[in-house]
């Protein structure tokens, strides 16, 4: 080989080595950056729960959007979406959700599926979501208040991000609600009960068929993480009861109620001193968390996803002194609803909630305000505070519908964020408001002949981040049945600060309302 040949080889070698040096440098920088991220998670603790081995893997045909009669409706193991935390794979469930934005009179709407998973942690953890079959154009993570900007690796179909706050996180791909992933990141349990503890009914991991668990006085029901209970929990005139644990209460083996027999996943009737924590309720055959004429309750960190007709999330009928906090509700009927079916309602607070409402209203007082036809019926002191509405597709976000003769007073909505406002979808028609306050006579919901009143309503801090600009409405019934003293302030819709009725597209009936302030 001549000098010329050697020179070519040396030059080529040099060029290749230069390129290699750049590549190795880039890889090292990437690794160092990743290690910096991982350093943050170094001191974290995580608790993972293996799901029941008996759940079927969800195949493509199980994911079809069709009625519950036309495919296997059971809770399944999700295999098209992989979620890991700090590199450890989580068990992902495939549960049912409903993207139909209209009532289906035969009770058999098309029902879809979506992935759901949960774990416990403290510190900062690194979450990876992999969707091998999905093209990733964009990814959004809610709640948006955390400002999480995920890393998206389109080639590997992965989304990665860090979280530090125990909360419910929802990953939405390509601006579509299809296959949105719900990740319930719980705090680590402190002093959970053990099997055999006195007064404790302990249900360990596994898939269990239990027709119903009837609570008795002074009892704790504990459904451990990794457990799936197909059945219901009923408290009937009992007191001092606790229901807790990271497990799942699933209604998928019941047929939908179709207006006949509701198997309410958790129901308290005439109870006192109730605590409910942490459980995940899926696939209820009708409505989900129900309480009637019960008092003194603290509900924390529960999660509900309900896909079937009349699948309200949390329904409090004629209850007193309830605090519902730090919980997640995605439902195919009203998400959070307070009404009178018997005695009066007083002192109900929903605080730090996340809501996703596929059908009907997100935060509803009514329609039934005196179904029990009591004298001097009243719904008083109901507060919705720090509520993030991830999606609202159908009827109003904030609503008071007094369809009976009760006095509805001292109701407040404070610090409400609506991330995606799509009210009016499907058959919602003119019920497409952000705020809807009304006294009405409705053949579906009214029981009393006489009409009622609405007084002293505060709506302070409502921020609509995206979606369509919604109207609002305030209308009493007549001169004698009015809405009075409504203060609306700090309202911001799609970046526009609302200072008067015109700005906010409010329709206010002057003849049946008094002292309505928007500022």
């Amino acid at each position: 080989m001549g000098d010329k040949g050697k020179t070519v080889i040396i030059n080529t070698g040099l060029i290749l080595l230069f390129i290699m040096t750049f590549i190795m440098g880039a890889i090292l920088k990437n690794k160092i950056d990743t290690r910096a991220v991982f350093a943050k998670v170094k001191d974290s603790k995580i608790v993972l729960y293996e799901g029941p081995k008996s759940l079927k893997d969800a195949a493509k045909e199980d994911l079809l959007a069709t009625s519950e009669k036309q495919r296997d409706f059971s809770l399944m193991h999700c295999i098209d979406t992989l979620v890991s935390v700090n590199g450890h794979e989580l068990y992902v469930y495939d549960t049912n959700v409903n993207h139909t934005y209209q009532w289906v009179s035969n009770y058999l709407p098309p029902i879809s599926r979506t992935p759901v998973t949960y774990f416990d942690f403290e510190g900062t953890v690194f979450v990876e979501v992999k969707v091998p079959d999905m093209r990733l154009d964009s990814v959004q993570i809610s709640p948006k208040e955390y400002g999480i900007e995920p890393e998206i690796d389109k080639d590997n179909h992965t989304v990665t991000f860090l979280i530090s706050n125990p909360d419910s996180y929802t990953v939405v791909f390509n601006n579509s609600v299809e296959r949105a992933v719900h990740i319930f990141a719980n705090p680590i349990e402190k002093n959970p009960p053990k099997d055999g503890d006195e007064g404790v009914i302990f249900i360990g991991p596994g898939e269990w068929k239990i027709e119903n668990i009837a609570l008795e006085d002074n009892q704790t029901l504990y459904i451990a993480g990794g457990a799936v209970v197909h059945g219901t929990i009923q408290g009937n005139y009992v007191q001092n009861v606790k229901v807790k644990g990271r497990g799942i209460v699933d209604g998928s083996l019941f047929a939908g109620w179709q207006g006949k027999e509701a198997h309410i996943p958790i129901n308290f009737v005439g109870c006192k001193n109730i605590e409910v924590e942490d459980l995940l309720f899926l696939n209820s055959n009708a409505w989900t968390f129900n309480s009637f004429e019960s008092k003194e309750a603290k509900i924390s960190n529960i999660k509900i996803i309900s896909p079937r007709p009349n699948g309200d999330g949390i329904t409090l009928q004629s209850c007193e002194n309830f605090l519902v906090q730090n919980s997640f509700v995605r439902s195919w009927d009203d998400s959070l609803v307070v009404k009178n079916y018997g005695a009066n309602t007083d002192n109900i607070t929903f605080k730090n909630m996340q809501v996703w409402t596929d059908l009907a209203q997100s935060m509803e007082v009514g329609y039934e305000t005196n179904k029990g036809k009591k004298e001097d019926a009243r719904i008083s002191r109901v507060a919705f505070e720090d509520v993030t509405v991830l999606y609202n597709f159908h009827k109003p976000v904030i609503s008071i519908h007094n369809a009976d003769d009760a006095l509805v007073e001292e109701i407040s909505f404070k610090n409400i964020t609506v991330e995606n406002a799509f009210m009016g979808s499907g058959d919602a028609g003119e019920n497409n408001q952000l705020i809807d306050l009304g006294i009405i006579n409705n053949s579906n919901w009214s029981t009393t002949k006489e009409r009622g009143q609405i007084r002293n309503i505060t709506i302070d801090g409502v921020n609509v981040l995206s979606g369509d600009f919604p109207p609002s409405k305030i209308a009493g019934f007549d001169k004698l049945h009015t809405i009075e003293n409504v203060m609306i302030k700090n309202l911001n819709i799609l970046g526009k600060s609302i200072k008067d009725a015109n700005d906010g597209k409010f329709v206010i009936d002057g003849a049946t309302t008094k002292n309505i302030t928007i500022e």
């Binding site: 040099l14 590199g87 993480g225 990794g226």
Partner: protein
Amino acid sequence: MEKRKIGILILIIINLGLFISILAVNHTMKLSVESGNVTMVHGPDQTEPMEHEKFAKEEYIPVIPEGENIALGKKVKASGFQDVYTPRKAVDGRVEGVSYWEGKGESYPNIITVDLEKEQNIHAIRLCLNPASVWGKRTQEFSVLTSMDGKEFKEIIPSASYDFNPDTGNQVILTLEDIKTRFVQLSFTMNTGAKGAQLAEFEVY
């Protein structure tokens, strides 16, 4: 030429250094994550959903008094009722679902009377609630009265408490010495499971 050779040597050394650094960073990263504090909760080996042993119940074979339920479909009246739970539902032969009578809340005594339409000999009364577990246990307090004319009633069993338990059919059977009567009445004064008396079936034999 020599300079270039030296350059190649330096670049090889740099690349080796980078390669070792990548391995080292990778190793420490792996350690930091995988040696992290991880607890895995495992479940049992199952191939299908199982009955939970704590909730396993012995099969209960309902006890039915001899003879025929002569109250079935007969005229029935009550002092009041709650919502849609009318007294007729206590003699319709159905114990399931919402087919039951519930007395008006907080207005004891809640009285229910069945008219057998003619004087008949009776020897037992069976009172049923829905046996589904969701009904839970409850105690009701009542007395039993009879009458020939529907106006003058005579107490045949004084007021007492009776337990209704879904594990044992959610029913109470009262055995009587043969009594001739046309009207049978129950007068309730307490129910630990609701605000008024409840009966899915009021059977007379």
